[in-house]
Symmetry: C2
Subunit: 404 residues, 2 copies
C-alpha cells in the first residue's frame, strides 16, 4: 500500500514509517524538521544521538534493502506542495503526525500558544482540504490524544470517542442520542486536538472522507523492532521539561541520579502506551479503514492507566532513586480517577507491552547507556499554565515582553 | 467605557461601533477592510453605496460631534499590533467581529476553506492570547452563530449554549452533568465558530477571562437609528449569493422583479434577527459582563424563527414577486424544526423588531431605493457544498485547479 507519513521524522512518526516500510508498504515521509529546530530553540537534544534524515534513510536501505522517500515540506504553510505530493503519490493512506505535540511547549508564552494553534489547525485543515481537492479516496489516520477527554466525569469509563447521552432542555423535553465525548482539554496543545476533532467530523459528514482518529495516551519507551536494527536508526528520547513525557523523564532521572520529580501529590491518573504498541496500533488502523460516508473512527490508543506517584514508586524500587514532590506548574486537578475503554484496537490484534515487562530494559538499554548525554538543567518543567499557582491570573504570562 | 470594535467596518461591526459611540462610549475600530477586498474579488458591491472609512468617520463626527478612532490592522496576522493596541487603549470591552462570516464563501474552493479557517481561528486565538498577555481585565464579546448548533436534535429547544445531559458509558454507568450543546456545523465557516467555542471555553477555564459569546441568527435589515442619520453613514446591504442573507436576498429580488429563489422545498427553519436588534444585543452584552473565572456567557441572539418558504410567501404577498424553487447547493436537510431559547437577552432588555413591522419599510427605503445598483447576475448562489448534489464527492471541488 502506498502511504504518506506526515511528520515522519518525529518521535512517533519515525518508528511508524519504519514499521510500515518493514511490512512492505511503499512509504513517503513529509516533514518540515520542526522538531529538530525546536531542540535548537530550547537548547535541548534527544538523549539518544539521532542521525540526520538522509543518514537515517540510507541506513534503513542498507539494513533492509527497502527505500523510504523523504520530502522536506511544511504542510501547514505549503498547501500547494502538499496537494501536489498527494496527486503525485496517490496514497491509499496518509498518517498525520505533523503537529506541535507538547503541552508545556504550547503554554510557554503567547508566541508558543499562537504557533501551536496556527500550525496544528492549518496542518490538519490543509490535509483535509487537499484530500477533498485531489478527489482521491485517501484514508486519513490522525494521532490525537486522550487529553481531549479531560478528566471531568468521574464514575464514567472514557469511551472510544462517542458516548450515549440523554439531552434535556429547560422545558424538560428529552432526546436520547450519541455525541462526541464533551471535550475538556487541559492545555492549548490539547485544545488544538479538540479543534481537530471538529474538522474531522465536518469533513467526514460533508465530504464522506475516511478518517481514523487515534486518541493516544502518554507514550513511553524509545525503540521498536525496526529502530534497534542499527544505531543510525535509533529513535529520539526526550527527557526535557517540555517534550519529555512523564515516564521517560523518570527513567532518565533515575539513570543520572536525579530525584524523580512528581508534580504535586502525583495523584493524577494517566493513560500510557509503549512506543512499540503505538506503532502497532497505527499499523492496525491503516489496515482497517472506516467506510466512506461513515462517522470518524475513534480508538483509544492506550494500554494501561497509572497514578503518576505509583510510576515513580515503581522506578524508585527498581533503581533506588529518591522521589521529590514539586509544585505542579499545570492548571489541573491534583488527583483524578481514570478508566478507559480500549477494546477497539485490542480486538484488531493489539497485544500490550506491559510496564512490568519492558521498564527495566528501557532503563538499562537507553537511559543508562546514554546518561552521559543528559543535561540535568533541562529536566525541570518551567512552563507555567498561569503565572500564579493559584490560577488567579493576576500577572500576565508575557508582561515582560509587553513592557519591553 | 473604552471599547475596541474589531471588524468595525463590516455589516454588523459598523452599526455596532456607531451605537456604542452614540451611547457615550469611547470607541476605536480596528479592521483590515477585508470585506471590501472580498467585494472586489467577487465583483460585487453593496446594494447601498457605502462610504470609505475616513468619510464615514468624519460624517459621524460632523453629525454627532463624537469621534471614533480607526486603526487599519489585520488581527489574524499582526499579533504585535493587536497587543500594542490593547495596551495603548486599555479597553474595558472588546467586541470581536473580525472573522470571515459567509458560509457559501467558505465553501467556494480549497483556498476559501483554508482562508476561513486560518483567518478566523488565528484572529480569535490572537485576541485571547493578547488579552492574557496584556494582563488587563478586558471583557471579550464575540459574534458567534446559531449555526454551531446544527439542526440535529428535533424535539429539543435549542438552549443558550449549555444543556443538561445524562451521559452513559458501555457498562451502563451514568453521570448527570452540564455540557456545551454538541456542535453540528453545516459549513466550514460554521465549523470555525464551533472551534472558537473551544478556544473561549479553554481561556475562560485556564485564564479566567470574561467572555460573552453571542450565537446570532440570520440578520436581516440594513439600517439602525445611527446609520440613518446621514447618507454617508449608510450600512452595507449584501444581496449576492455568497454574502447576502436569505431574507435580504428576497427583498432585493422583489425590488428588481427577480423571482424569489428558494433552495429546495424551503422547509428549512431558521432563526432571524433584525440588524437594529443585533446592535442592541451587543450593547446589552457589553453592559453585562460575566464574572472573572466563570464559564463563557452564551446568549442566543435571535428573535423569531421562520421556514424559508414562509418568508418567501410573505414577501410575495406584499410585492407580487414570483417564488421559484431551485436546487439546494448546500448539504443540509430539506426540512427541519427549530425552537430556540432566547430569554437571556430578552431579560436584559431586548424588545424585538418584528418582521411584520419592519419588512415593508426595508423594501421601500432600501431595496427599491437602490434597485438600480443591483447586478442580477450576482443573485444566484453558486458555491456548492459538494460537487455532486447527492453528496457523493465523486469529483473534487478543485479538480480544475489541481489539473492546471
Amino acid at each position: 500500500m502506498k502511504i504518506l507519513v506526515l511528520g515522519g521524522d518525529g518521535f512517533c512518526g519515525w518508528p511508524t514509517a519504519l514499521r510500515l516500510s518493514a511490512r512492505g508498504h511503499d512509504v513517503t515521509i513529509a516533514d518540515n524538521l520542526s522538531r529538530r529546530a525546536i531542540d535548537k530553540e530550547l537548547g535541548c537534544e534527544s538523549l539518544t544521538p539521532i542521525a540526520e534524515i538522509p543518514e537515517r534513510l540510507s541506513a534503513w536501505h542498507s539494513v533492509t534493502g527497502k527505500s523510504i522517500r523523504f520530502v522536506h515540506l511544511d504542510i501547514a504553510q505549503d498547501y500547494d506542495g502538499l496537494l501536489d505530493l498527494i496527486l503525485e503519490e496517490v496514497p491509499a493512506a496518509l498518517v498525520h503526525f505533523a503537529e506541535q505535540r507538547s503541552a508545556p511547549y504550547s503554554m510557554k508564552s503567547s508566541r508558543h500558544k499562537r504557533y501551536t494553534v496556527d500550525n496544528n489547525i492549518n496542518a490538519t485543515n490543509n490535509v483535509l482540504a487537499a484530500v477533498v481537492e485531489s478527489g482521491l479516496d485517501v484514508h486519513i489516520v490522525h494521532l490525537g490524544t486522550m487529553g481531549v477527554y479531560g478528566y471531568k466525569t468521574p464514575g464514567l469509563t472514557i469511551p472510544e470517542g462517542y458516548l450515549s447521552a440523554t439531552l434535556t432542555d429547560d422545558s424538560g423535553a428529552s432526546v436520547k442520542t450519541e455525541i462526541l465525548y464533551p471535550t475538556n482539554p487541559g492545555s492549548i496543545y490539547h485544545m488544538t486536538k479538540s479543534q481537530d476533532q471538529l474538522l474531522f467530523a465536518y469533513y467526514a459528514k460533508n465530504d464522506g472522507l475516511r478518517i481514523t482518529d487515534l486518541h493516544q495516551g502518554i507514550v513511553w519507551g524509545t525503540q521498536t523492532a525496526e529502530t534497534t536494527l542499527d544505531d543510525r536508526l535509533i529513535n529520539r528520547f526526550d527527557y526535557d521539561g517540555d517534550y519529555g513525557t512523564v515516564l521517560n523523564r523518570f527513567l532518565v532521572q533515575a539513570a543520572v541520579g536525579h530525584p524523580l520529580t512528581v508534580h504535586g501529590s502525583g495523584g493524577q491518573t494517566r493513560a500510557f502506551i509503549h512506543l512499540q504498541d503505538s506503532v502497532r496500533c497505527i499499523e492496525l488502523a491503516v489496515s482497517n479503514p472506516p467506510k466512506r460516508h461513515s462517522r470518524v473512527a475513534i480508538f483509544n490508543q492506550m494500554t494501561e492507566t497509572h497514578r503518576v506517584v505509583d510510576l515513580a514508586t515503581m522506578i524508585s524500587t527498581m533503581t533506588g532513586a529518591e522521589i521529590r514532590h514539586v509544585k505542579n506548574p499545570r492548571n489541573e486537578a491534583d488527583t483524578n480517577e481514570l478508566t478507559v475503554a480500549n477494546l477497539g484496537l485490542r480486538s484488531l490484534g493489539l497485544v500490550p507491552t506491559t510496564l512490568d515487562a519492558a521498564l527495566l530494559r528501557e532503563i538499562t538499554e537507553i537511559a543508562q547507556r546514554f546518561a552521559s548525554r543528559c543535561d540535568p538543567a533541562k529536566i525541570p518543567c518551567v512552563s507555567l499554565w498561569t503565572t500564579d499557582a493559584a490560577g488567579n491570573c493576576t500577572a500576565p504570562v508575557g508582561a515582560k515582553l509587553a513592557a519591553a
